[in-house]
């Protein structure tokens, strides 16, 4: 079988071009750079970004300290509250701590939460607050409100009962207040997009800016140009 060298070369070049473009597009991801940490503590958490109303969520954090971790607290509140309540997180092994975020009511809009970690030397660190979007779900059954969970608050004279969530929170005053004195934990820096003009992202042909291609093979000739 005789193969025209020119045609083979064109086909090869096109295949390489297409393959490279695929790799470019699908390898694009948000990269974050790590800066060297001089703190003894390391905290890792995959945020809960959204939950449907009437469903609880498991929240977990990995907390490790060279000196040893004494206590991990899970602070949370609905948007209508100015102060947090907290629960002590359970150690589920391998530096992993977990707690349950109670199910939120419809129209809660959102919940804020954060973690406070105290090491065995008495140093206290807090993470940044995370925001969870509560998506309304009027089709699901509202869980029974007979259940109660015990939480603590770091304010003077908190109300005994809170009904911000589907189950009632019985609130007690915390013996040790950690939030006011906690040091802010330095999270990994994130990549922030910089200035620049983006080629139109509208329309099916808007994606490949500055690309032109022209093919004439076996009697079929098509050209493509995008700006």
């Amino acid at each position: 079988m005789y193969l025209d060298f020119k045609r083979v070369a064109v086909i090869t070049i096109l295949v390489v071009l297409v393959g490279s473009l695929y790799l470019y597009c699908y390898s694009f991801s948000y990269a974050s750079t790590k800066t060297p940490e001089t703190l003894s503590i390391e905290i890792k958490h995959k945020p809960v970004t959204a939950i449907p109303a009437n469903r609880f969520a498991e929240v977990a954090v990995a907390a490790r300290d060279e000196i040893g971790v004494a206590e991990v607290r899970f602070y949370f509140k609905t948007l209508k509250r100015k102060w947090y309540v907290f629960r002590i997180m359970e150690n589920s092994g391998k530096n992993r701590y977990s707690a349950q975020l109670p199910s939120a009511k419809n129209d809660s809009q959102g919940i804020d939460y954060l973690f406070v970690i105290k090491n065995k030397k008495g140093e206290i660190f807090k993470t940044k607050p995370y925001r969870v979007l509560v998506q309304n779900d009027y089709s699901s059954i509202t869980p029974s409100t007979k259940d109660e969970i015990a939480v603590y608050a770091e304010i003077t004279s908190p109300p005994r009962l809170l009904d911000d969530f589907n189950l009632k929170l019985t609130v007690a005053s915390a013996k040790e207040r950690m939030l006011p004195s906690a040091k802010q934990y330095q999270h990994d820096p994130i990549t922030v997009p910089g200035p620049g003009s983006r080629s139109s992202s509208t329309g099916i042909l808007g994606g490949l800016g500055g690309v032109a291609a022209s093919i004439t093979l076996g009697g079929v000739g098509i050209s493509y140009r995008a700006n």
């Binding site: 473009l21 925001r131 999270h187 992202s201 808007g206 994606g207 800016g209 093979l217 076996g218 079929v220």
Partner: protein, 130 residues
């Protein structure tokens, strides 16, 4: 042979056009003169921006002190699985005031159902700061 080449050409062209659907989904910071300056400190504006995003059904997926990225979720969608717009908000302190810049990035597929969020977001931020 020529029919083979024609088929191959068509396959390659279809691949190229489908790649154009892999549009740039990365936000870009708008020009500094296109934003809105709020006469409020950065912390107050941060809170107002977060609350505005939550009010308009955005799930925050990335943030630091001066930048927030959020994805608009429709009922049933999750932050991991959605076909929705991405919004990026830059907050730049300016001597007691804060400049807010917003960029909306739409997905190439389902574009008819997506919208620009700069105006509704700015209005909600203003409302929150009142």
């Amino acid at each position: 042979m020529s029919s083979y080449l024609r088929s191959l050409t068509i396959v390659i062209l279809v691949s190229l056009f489908s790649l154009s659907g892999c549009a740039d989904y990365t936000p870009k910071e708008p020009p500094l003169n296109s934003g809105t300056v709020f006469q409020q400190p950065l912390e107050a504006v941060q809170t107002a921006v977060r609350d505005a995003l939550t009010k308009l059904s955005f799930a925050i997926i990335k943030e630091n002190d001066q930048y927030i990225e959020a994805v608009h979720l429709k009922p049933g969608e999750t932050a991991e699985k959605n076909k929705s717009e991405l919004v990026a908000v830059w907050m730049k302190p300016r001597s007691g005031a804060t400049l807010v810049l917003i960029d909306t990035v739409k997905r190439a597929s389902g574009i008819a159902k997506q919208k620009e969020w700069e105006q509704p977001l700015m209005l909600q931020i203003m409302k929150n700061l009142q």
